[in-house]
């Protein structure tokens, strides 16, 4: 199991404990966070599952693929610690992660 803390754009916090091996996008969808549009369902094709990580976690994770980097570069509301949630998998590396959600993906 992986413990996660989702924080929406208004600062509301939702702790979740989820099985390992799901993508963060799937977790967000199962959690009912509508700000994760995830139009393409996890194909790294749409850049509508953007989340913001804490700097320490962002730096600790394996670097983004070129595909993810390019998709995010022109995505709306991008920040320095943005990632696409479909490219992150729950498990040890995300244990205790604080995941901030944008108000919208558009």
């Amino acid at each position: 199991m992986t413990r996660l803390l989702f924080v929406d754009h208004q600062g509301h916090e939702t702790p979740l404990e989820v099985e390992a091996g799901l993508t963060l996008m799937e977790v967000a969808r199962l959690g009912g966070f509508d700000s994760i549009a995830a139009e393409c369902g996890g194909g790294c094709a749409c850049a509508t599952c953007q989340v913001y990580l804490e700097p320490a976690l962002f730096a600790a994770l394996a670097p983004m693929s070129e595909m993810e980097e390019c998709m995010l570069e022109l995505a709306a509301h991008r920040r320095a610690t943005s990632r696409l949630a479909c490219q992150l998998t729950t498990g040890h590396a995300l244990e205790g992660a604080r995941i901030e959600l944008p108000e919208s993906q558009y």
């Binding site: 799901l22 799937e26 969808r29 199962l30 009912g32 509508d34 549009a37 139009e39 393409c40 369902g41 194909g43 790294c44 094709a45 749409c46 850049a47 595909m67 390019c70 998709m71 570069e73 022109l74 995505a75 558009y106």
Partner: protein, 418 residues
Amino acid sequence: MDEETNPARVVVIGAGQAGSQFCFALRRHGFGGEIVLLGEEPHAPYQRPPLSKAFLKGEMDQRRLLLKPAQAYADSGVEFRPGAVATGIDRAARQVVLASGERLAYDRLAIATGSRPRALPAPGGTLGGVLALRGIDDTLRLRDRLDACRALIVVGGGYIGLEVAATARAKGIPVTVLERAERVLARVTSPRMSAWFEALHRRHGVDVICDAEIAELSGTGGQVTGAVLADGRVIPGDTVLVGIGVDANDGLASEAGLACDGGILVDADARTQDPLIYALGDCTRHPVGPYAGQHRVESVHNALDQAERAARHLLGLDPPAYDPPWFWSDQYDAKLQAAGLFNGHDAQLSHGDPESGRFALLYFARERLVAVDAVSDPASFMAARQLLKQDAAATLAECRAHSLKELLALRKNGEPVP
């Protein structure tokens, strides 16, 4: 609010991506009335794109296909009824008639009945082992067949057919693609892009036969054994996947007297000619942004976009900003991302080198950018989506001089580069 802007009960026929999204969009925008979502299948609403890719490969379990967890419907006050088949719409009485005989009253109705695969018109089209791909159950059947398949025939070189071909090759299965037109993807992209995808499949060992007219599918003991072409060639295969396009499920609407023409005709807000009835998703034809004419756009993006527009219109809210249609397809290591509508283009440019496997084709009508097909080139795709939103369309001259990403940066406030 009065009944005009705050109807008591909304009924949605069809629990695909459009119908499901519409329900949740209504709630997100504050609709407080009843919502009934009717689905023919026993499954809760799910994603279809993985059905020809990861789910067919067996890399994704069925639970992960769901668009929302099962309890999300009840939690949001959406009465989801699986296995509910609508057989008629009584517009005078404002009721949906169900196969069970029940009549379900509506104040507003949304028709999101999707589309159905065309059947192969050739003799032998109903033999065992001849399959179409539309729903979860179709994929499960095809997946079972592929486990023991010695030769797969794909009829139709469209996206579904080519994605299945790629998946089958990944499993080591010999594959022949039979395409009736002179090139694959003929309906959805340009000859240059078709040629690139045909070469991609050939490199992966697929035998692609274009101009292939199927005389019949042959079989023994009720099971398919191959395809016989009009020129006499015999292609062996123990499984045949038919992917020759889909037809809009507009029967309920046309029987109810709503205008249909290869899909239910709706306006940009997904309204039919009946002010109480919306229609959305694959079952519709509608105007799209700056493009002339009416279009049936079979894509997730279109389903989501029409759902949002219909929900906002129903609640008297402003429509969202125009978002150009887009689509993607994964085949082997290539990711195609397409934005805009290429129909009617009269010029094209390529950016990048097709030989490298990373490039984009840009399509223009009267020197204005109308669509982009990007292969493993996400930067061009993302830039294209934004450029296609701008009122002053990017010009052929601008696109000759700059990459799409550069052009997006240079076009401050969407103004053309001087």
